[in-house]
Amino acid sequence: MAEQPGSGLKTPQKGYRLFQKKGIKVFIEGVWHNNPIFGMMLGLCSTLAVTNLMANALVMSLSVTIVVILNSVITSLIRGFIPDRVRMVAYMIIISTLVIAVDRFLKVLLPDISNALGPYVALIITNCIVMGRAEAFAINNSPGLSFMDALGVGSGYTLSLMVIAFFRELIGFGSLFGVRVIPASITPLGLFAIPPGAFFALGTYIFFINLLRNRSKKEKGGSK
């Protein structure tokens, strides 16, 4: 699971459990099995960098979701016209254009958060999630299904980011969305607000997800 981050980019992977049924199924696959963070280990730079505050994480994950959806739908719409050899370049150009649009929106609407996110909005361009979904799914599927898949993956990404950010902000700053919730007498553990804390939070998050997954696997195995 963790060992194949590049594989989604090179060849469309049939074994990704993508082609079972339609709509909802594709969405759920996106949220759980193909979850970018703990399922495919993609797009980790932004996950680690923006999760110190919940507001940042929310804006970042919404931006990524929008870019993934638009990119998947556009790629799917024009998939008949993209020559196979230049498809990477085509993705790159579509994604860059979308990211420029998102970045300019954020600069106008939310200047503070845009400042805090710094280069990480622009780095959505090289975020493997976006390109991965185009290559693994949108290039072979109809716009409707691609939309559901991108929505699922985007929601999965949002979910992961929000969970990590919730704990990092709560422990690191003692607040949620900038509002102090832990009494002032308790000093927050600053470790979780600085970069090393991001790694610890991610590791712990993966640990608990795996725990959940193994447990549900065991239950399924037991009931049979």
Binding site: M92, I93, L123, L202
Partner: protein, 193 residues
Amino acid sequence: MKELFLLLFASIVTSNIALTYFLGMCPFLAISKEIKVATGMGAAVTVVMTFTSLANWLINNLILLPAKLEFLQFLIFIITIAAMVQVLEMFLDRYSPTLYSAFGIFLPLITVNCAILGVSLFMVLRSYSLIETIFYSFGSGLGWTVAIVAIGGLRKGLIFSDPPKNFGAAGITAILAGLMALAFIGFTGVVRG
């Protein structure tokens, strides 16, 4: 000169691009199992990083800024990176087959390595001069190499240890990276002194 040296040191150690800015995380967690592979990837990243940020600096300052086209930065930067990688690949293939076989396979991967684009973006955000850009990008590449080789070494040690199974390969690597990041932050005092 002292500032340049400090910049180089900071980009290698205290504000290490992998451990403090989390750039280039995908290869960092995925291909750090073999020290040899990690070294090859690190070398390729360092070379590409230095050349692309140099090219991007020139393009940004000589073309985009005078023409007021800053909003095209992302698009132009990523195209430059892709083109540079392609050129470098062809150049190596033609003139140094040994080097090409050593890290040629990493070159295509580098186009989507966010560390490369990240360094170009930081260079713009912090408005570095040309000479600062060279020091900064070379230092960042070295720093990334140091980090990935070190974590490759640490992961070798994992063979002999028995972490909780649920961490999986990725989880325990993240924890290791966290410990390493803590150690690197410890160098902060050196720069201030």
